[in-house]
Amino acid sequence: MPEEAPFRYRIRFAKSAPLRFIGHLDLHRAWERTLRRAGAPLAYSEGYNPRPRLNLGLALPLGCTSQGDLLDVMLETSWESEDLCQALRKAAPPGLLVEAVWPVPAGTPPLQRQVSSCEYKVDLAAAADAARLQDAIQRLLGSDSLPRERRGKSYDLRPLVEGLTLEVGERVERPRLVMQLAAREGATGRPEEVLLELGLDPLAHVPHRARVLGPSSVRPEA
């Protein structure tokens, strides 16, 4: 643990259903305010427009929920992680669930550089046609390329899909899609694009980002 300011902490949290329609920038602002309410001594950037040093890792698309989401923050003075965790839990708005807090060594690369992929789970309607979907999944995974267009730009979806399965049966209440999508600079897979490719309506489903793969998301044993 470094002995001089600023001190870096990683917060693992969940963005649950009440916050589904909060976008990335809004979430950033909500975290700034939560930290302030908790009395955390935020470190600020230098220059003409000092901002709190907060890094919200990987943007979550609007309309999704998440767990195991990560945020790095820099504080002016060091706090006991457990104290910070409790203070944040008290200050957090309804629906923002603080899972764990731990210190991160100085020199650790920024969150975005550590992330490689994300896992999304999408619950489907009970009446979803499992057989048709299995076919569509096989076709998708079997293609060499999947040209698509998003916001006027063409791209290939296939390399962004690292894994895609359909869970049915006794283990899950409703059929559930589990997808692992790339999350790198310039190569980010979006869950609603996969849904569209499978012939499903993105407006009727709530993708849940269950895991961010790459950075240390596990609190080290004390």
Binding site: P18, L19, R20, F21, I22, G23, L25, D26, L27, R29, A30, E32, R33, T34, L35, R36, R37, L42, Y44, N49, P50, P52, L62, G63, A91, P93, P94, G95, P202, L203, A204
Partner: protein, 640 residues
């Protein structure tokens, strides 16, 4: 429709609209009570989108007050953007509250905020989307009581057909009196008319359906007739003796809203007497909030919200008695918390370098604002805002020296006494200020001129004055557009047609209600938004209602004309306004009434209130001996 069903439909709609968080609720510090256990239910509505409504302090104050009552709850509603409105109409979804998603028609009271006139059609649209009959006359015992408040209510007549009861003045105490009436009436089997008549007895409440308006053949007002004994004439505005403690438990929005800050009023009212300013006239008397209360309020609000900016609000901040002490105290207490202090509405005359030094550390991004309004001595004397060019230039120098790059100057054009020379002087003055800035900080210096178009507002000394015509306004704006361009200069101006709309609506009579209704039927919405404003819809509405818009705006009014708003008493006497108007014609000015009282009418009316609240809280002179006026003219401490 039950909330559960509404929610299910909503969850499917929201991903398809812009900024769904506008309609989702769930923010920190919202209050959600048990609907079935709380008998009195109030919906508080702001007729524009969430981002604007959530910046409105009045609504937030009333929300807090109602929710503090054990037997009442308050929930919020805002206008839906056209994409959401279309989706709601297509799926049959009624307008609902954010907290529990109850349809607005389920509430006992619907309170609509009307701070300015261009929100009128949105207010009608909210009623329609809520399934509440638009006309007072069509509402029955199960429909909510529709109440409106805000500065636009000082001329309530255009909206009179649609609003059951207007609140004239400050809402903190009168809202509880209104709830008391509803509480006593609810479930008692009495008619809706009985409730309205009872409400009319509350100090500060105007129930338009209890009056009939009579007109002369030429269309001017002959008389407002009270139809029932409870209907008072005039209706006197409600004020609070001193400012209640500031609201600290503000709802923290997720969305980026118009003002992302803790708003704390430091003072209400204004003593300057600028003749064009309605707010200054109708919010008298001046009452200040003690420094300690402001500082403590900021501390609590920071802990409860985590906001990064504080706005200290008033009509004329540097006139606040202890402004230096206040800014010093705030800067000292919150020194290490990166708190951005916003202090708008600074007067050029009471500006000081020391104040600048204290504010220096704060955000300079948006520029420093001053409001000279006029650029020639002649116009300054007419409007009673006699700031000299010399003072302005000195102030500008100090601002540029203290780290600001941009100065925003507010000017006003459109007074009928104004000539093109006066307008030219505005352009020259802006360039002179820019020249000062260039001398000090080179090409980084900028001047933004915000030039609004004058509207002669009710309850001001200019209420007799006609507006400039569209052509006159366009000529003046054309001059400014030609001159105020190029490096470092920017001009913001109002679209003249939008100005006309505001002028019609603020000076209208009860017949204007039909125009508003027809304009709304023709699709008028979001009139305050340039991209949605439909001038033609309004012109057609006037035609269909057989009214001439110019009657409201371009007529020279005789000095003894009865105005549609005369029966609403802002406590500044019409006699005082008449005298001030006549003085303006001679270019005679009045000093700030902190220096000497001009007996505008506030004190005789509120003498009892002033006597029981002595000292520095009010800026009006003290009242020591018992009033010699007849009891009927004096407002009692406890409303009848």
């Amino acid at each position: 429709m039950r909330p559960e069903e509404l929610s299910r439909t909503l969850e499917r709609l929201l991903p398809g609209v812009q900024k769904p968080a506008r309609y989702a609720g769930g923010e920190l510090n919202q209050t959600v009570k048990d609907w079935d256990r709380v008998p009195l239910r109030v919906a508080l509505a702001f007729p524009d989108i969430y981002e604007l409504g959530m910046s409105n302090l009045g609504l937030a104050i009333l929300y807090d007050i109602v929710n503090r009552q054990p037997d009442a709850l308050a929930e919020r509603a805002f206008s839906t953007w056209p994409d959401m409105e279309a989706a709601m109409r297509a799926t049959g979804l009624p307008l609902f509250s954010l907290e529990t998603r109850h349809p607005l028609s389920d509430f006992d009271v619907l309170g609509i905020s009307l701070p300015y006139e261009t929100l009128f059609t949105n207010a009608l649209n909210m009623l329609d989307l809520a399934g509440i009959p638009l006309l007072t006359a069509d509402r029955g015992s199960t429909d909510p009581l529709v109440v409106a408040g805000g500065h636009a209510c000082y001329n309530p007549e255009p909206m009179a057909p649609f609003i059951d009861a207007f609140v004239i003045g400050e809402g903190e105490e009168v809202i509880l009196d209104i709830l008391a009436c509803v509480r006593a009436w609810k479930g008692g089997g009495q008619s809706r008319e009985a409730l309205l008549r009872h409400l009319a007895g509350v100090w500060g409440v105007y129930v338009p359906s209890l009056y009939r308006v009579h007109y002369h053949a030429d269309g001017t007002l002959q008389q407002v007739e009270a139809l029932f004994p409870e209907a008072r004439l005039p209706v006197i505005k409600r004020i609070v003796a001193k400012l209640p403690p500031p609201l600290t438990r503000l709802i923290v929005p997720y969305l980026d809203i118009a003002h992302n800050r803790i708003p704390i009023e430091i003072m209400r009212g204004c003593t300057r007497g600028c003749r064009f300013c309605q707010a200054g006239m109708i919010t008298r008397p001046v009452r200040e909030r003690p420094v300690e209360e402001v500082v403590e309020g900021i501390e609590r609000a920071l802990a409860e919200t985590g906001f990064e900016q504080v706005g200290l609000l008033s009509l004329s901040s540097s006139d606040y008695d202890d402004i230096l002490e206040l800014v010093r105290a705030v800067s000292a207490r919150f020194a290490d918390r990166h708190l951005d202090l916003s202090l708008p509405s600074l007067r050029i005359e009471t500006f000081s370098v020391e104040l600048m030094d204290l504010l220096q550390g704060n955000s300079h991004r948006s520029g420093f604002t001053l409001a000279p309004e006029a650029a020639t001595e002649r116009m300054r004397e007419i409007i009673n805002k006699p700031v000299s060019t010399q003072q302005l230039l000195e102030t500008a120098r100090a601002i540029y020296q203290h780290g600001w790059h941009t100065i925003k100057l507010y000017f006003m054009i459109g007074h009928p006494s104004e000539t093109l020379e006066d307008v030219q002087a505005i352009a020259d003055l802006c360039k002179a200020v820019l020249a000062e800035g260039r001398q000090l900080i080179g090409n980084r210096a900028k001047v933004t001129a915000g030039v609004s178009t004058f509207i002669p507002k009710p309850h001001t000394p200019f209420q007799w004055v006609p507006c400039d015509t569209l052509e006159q306004i366009q000529a003046k704006q054309a001059l400014l557009k030609r001159q105020l361009r190029g490096r470092g200069l920017k001009l913001n101006w109002n679209h003249p047609q939008e100005t006309m709309l505001e002028a019609w609506l603020s000076r209208g009579d009860r017949r204007m209600g039909e125009v508003i209704y027809r304009a709304w039927q023709r699709g008028a919405r979001f009139d305050a938004w340039s991209e949605h404003f439909q001038y033609d819809a309004w012109l057609q509405a006037f035609q269909e209602a057989d009214l001439d818009p110019a009657f409201y705006t371009h007529r020279d009014r005789p000095i003894d004309e009865i105005f549609p708003w005369d029966h609403i008493d802002a406590a500044v006497k019409k006699q005082f306004l008449t005298e001030d108007y006549l003085w303006s014609l001679r270019g005679k000015t009045r000093v700030d009434c902190r220096e000497r009282c001009f007996a505008c009418g506030i004190l005789p009316k509120f003498a009892e209130l002033r006597r029981s609240n002595p000292g520095e809280v009010w800026e009006c002179p003290e009242v020591r001996s018992p009033s010699r006026k007849r009891a009927a003219e004096v407002i009692p401490l406890v409303p009848a």
